[in-house]
């Protein structure tokens, strides 16, 4: 978002210092980029929450306590400090379910985005590098994929195959790769026209070597940016599926499912709906800020 012009110490007379390396420049920009820092801090802390969920959660996310059903959070009248954020309709500790929900969202976000990355980058690099009929075929597949009503098809497939974490990851991943493809395709077309690729080819490198050693390393920062955004998109997709009842099934603590369960009591226990939504919002905004940040840091002046 902020334009940071790199300083050029080498151009100043009397200084014999080398100009800063791209890595040093990127680090300097990262230190000044607040969006990146906030995003990274959010993601890192929520990943830690997911990893250390068993130590952080005061109760088991599955333990039901029927006398303690639908308790309000501790700060409201009738709340107790045993259940800091209250309990759900089965008397399960809401804070513990929210903490374990971080695991579900992050697992699905990372898993689905990885599948999308593999499909999209493979197709994008092949189409961009070889061009010709491969490019035409990939473009047609891309157009068809874009025309698919993604959420609707994901709902049907997940529900028909049988909803589970693995199925949700695979279906969301298989339906979210277009962004990877579009960006890597045009970036590959650009890179393959550059001199160092011609030099590699002249020195006898095969297409496979050029793709692995010349093209992919130069796509890495772009791929990381898209991956970060896609994690957020996949997390929201899972939440929608689970909210509609065709994604993660009870009793697994998925934030989307928790919102659906809380909906029945939302008129007198609004926190049941508000809290999981806030967690979702914070996690996704963390991913988006981080994506924006990495883009600004690795390629200043460029906007998508």
């Amino acid at each position: 978002m902020t334009d940071i012009s790199p300083s050029h110490p080498a151009t100043q007379l009397g200084h014999e210092k080398l100009p800063p390396s791209p890595g040093q420049l990127a680090r300097a920009r990262a230190l000044k980029h607040h969006g990146f820092q906030i995003g990274a801090a959010i993601l890192l802390s929520l990943i830690l929450v997911a990893v250390f969920a068993p130590f952080l959660a005061p109760h088991s996310p599955y333990a039901q306590s029927l006398p303690n059903r639908l308790l309000p959070p501790a700060w409201e009248e009738g709340g107790s400090s045993t259940y800091p954020l209250g309990t759900d309709r089965n008397g399960r500790d809401y804070l513990s379910r929210l903490i374990y929900g971080t695991r579900v969202s992050i697992t699905i976000g990372l898993g689905a985005a990885t599948i999308g990355l593999l499909i999209g980058v493979t197709l994008g690099v092949l189409a961009g590098y070889f061009g010709g009929w491969i490019d035409h075929a990939v473009s047609f597949v891309l157009t068809a994929q874009l025309a698919l009503p993604g959420l609707l098809l994901a709902m049907a497939l997940v529900f028909f195959i049988g909803p589970s974490v693995i199925v949700v990851i695979c279906i969301i991943g298989v339906l979210h790769w277009t962004y990877f493809l579009v960006v890597t395709r045009s970036a590959t077309q650009h890179i393959r026209s550059l001199d160092f690729v011609a030099a590699a080819r002249a020195s006898g490198a095969t297409s496979r070597q050029i793709i692995w050693h010349e093209i992919l390393p130069n796509l890495a920062s772009k791929i990381i940016v898209i991956f970060t955004f896609e994690v957020g998109i996949a997390i929201l997709a899972e939440a929608s599926l689970s909210f509609l009842g065709v994604g993660i099934q009870a009793p697994t603590p998925s934030w989307g499912l928790m919102i659906a369960e809380g909906k029945e009591a939302m008129f007198y226990r609004p926190w049941l709906v508000v809290l999981p939504g806030i967690f979702l919002f914070v996690l996704v905004i963390g991913a988006n800020l981080m994506g924006d940040g990495v883009r600004d840091i690795t390629s200043p002046g460029e906007k998508s």
Partner: protein
């Protein structure tokens, strides 16, 4: 121009039918329709009889050809769940969804375009930064959750609008806002970058030197050109509103295509799901085609080049 439109139109149709084929294969591989029709506890004999009766024992490609033949004649088959023609199920509900989609588009336009223009005209000030912050936040809000929060705030705590249903225009205010808000970030950013580009162009400098200032410069010269790319994106966004209607309609209990979609998935009603996917894809390609044609009509470089 006619050749360009025909080429694009043929591609759009090819894409829509590819999507219908992919959906048909995926749906039928994912589930066995005979089980869905017979019910959970039917014995194997009954399931086998149903399989033959509905023609489900034939190879997938034959069944797809059968479906395609029906589509050409305007026959989309019967719903397994509602036991009536799928086309009439859709016809009963399509009006509600179109109403929702159009009012959502209206919400997007009245929020995103002024916001984008304000951000562009006040570039790098707090106005610009807050507009971008709104966009970043709007992208991270789960749509269905926003709907529930609106219900808690504006139907329960402050009873301005009905909680759910679709009988009066007041029922559509909150759903249209929720569905419309999802397109605000994309349209707003496009408006912003478009207007910034236009404001820096030579002809605006010329207009300025001729003495045009403020509102007249904006209205007469800048806005018109900045809006061109926005208009074609709005067409695409309208197509995407259909997909978005699935969550919104279910949050607000609106009986449109989105609600029908969820009900037919839960009832394993493949013919209905199949038609809805085909229909949504068809609308999507039609809207893209419209955007392409608009672009070509407005910018001769595209149709010649």
């Amino acid at each position: 121009m006619l050749k360009y439109v025909l080429q694009r139109g043929a591609l759009a149709l090819a894409v829509a039918f590819t999507v219908s084929l992919a959906a048909f294969l995926l749906l039928n591989i994912a589930t066995d329709a005979a089980y869905a029709i017979a019910g959970e506890e039917a014995d194997p004999d009954v399931i086998e009889r149903i399989r033959v009766q509905y023609g489900l024992d034939r190879p997938l490609m034959v069944r797809y050809a059968d479906w395609l033949g029906g589509v050409v004649r305007g026959d989309f088959g019967d719903s397994y769940y509602w036991r009536k023609p799928v086309a009439s199920l859709v016809a009963e509900r399509v009006g509600t969804t179109i109403k929702l989609a159009l009012s959502a588009l209206f919400v997007t336009i009245i929020i995103a375009i002024p916001l984008g223009a304000l951000a562009a005209l006040n570039r790098n000030t707090w106005v610009d930064r807050s507009a971008l912050a709104v966009a970043v936040a709007a992208q991270a809000v789960p749509n269905f959750w926003l709907g529930l929060i609106m219900i808690i705030l504006f139907a329960v705590m402050l009873p301005l609008f009905p909680v759910s249903g679709d009988s009066t225009w007041r029922h559509f205010v909150m759903p249209a806002f929720v569905l419309g808000a999802s397109s605000v970030p994309a349209v707003m950013r496009l408006m912003r970058t478009g207007l910034i580009e236009v404001m820096e162009s030579d002809y605006i400098r010329t207009a300025r030197s001729k003495g045009y200032r403020g509102a007249s410069l904006l209205m007469r010269h800048a806005l018109r050109n900045a809006l061109l790319p926005v208009v074609s994106v709005l067409a695409v966004q309208l197509g995407q509103k259909l997909g978005g209607s699935v969550t919104t309609e279910n949050v607000f209990a609106i009986s449109g295509l989105g609600r029908l979609a969820l009900q037919s998935i839960l009832g394993a009603d493949i013919p209905t799901v199949q038609l809805l996917i085909f229909l949504f894809a068809l609308v999507f390609v039609a809207m893209n085609l419209l955007a392409d044609i608009l672009n070509a009509a407005l910018d001769p470089r595209i149709r010649i080049g």
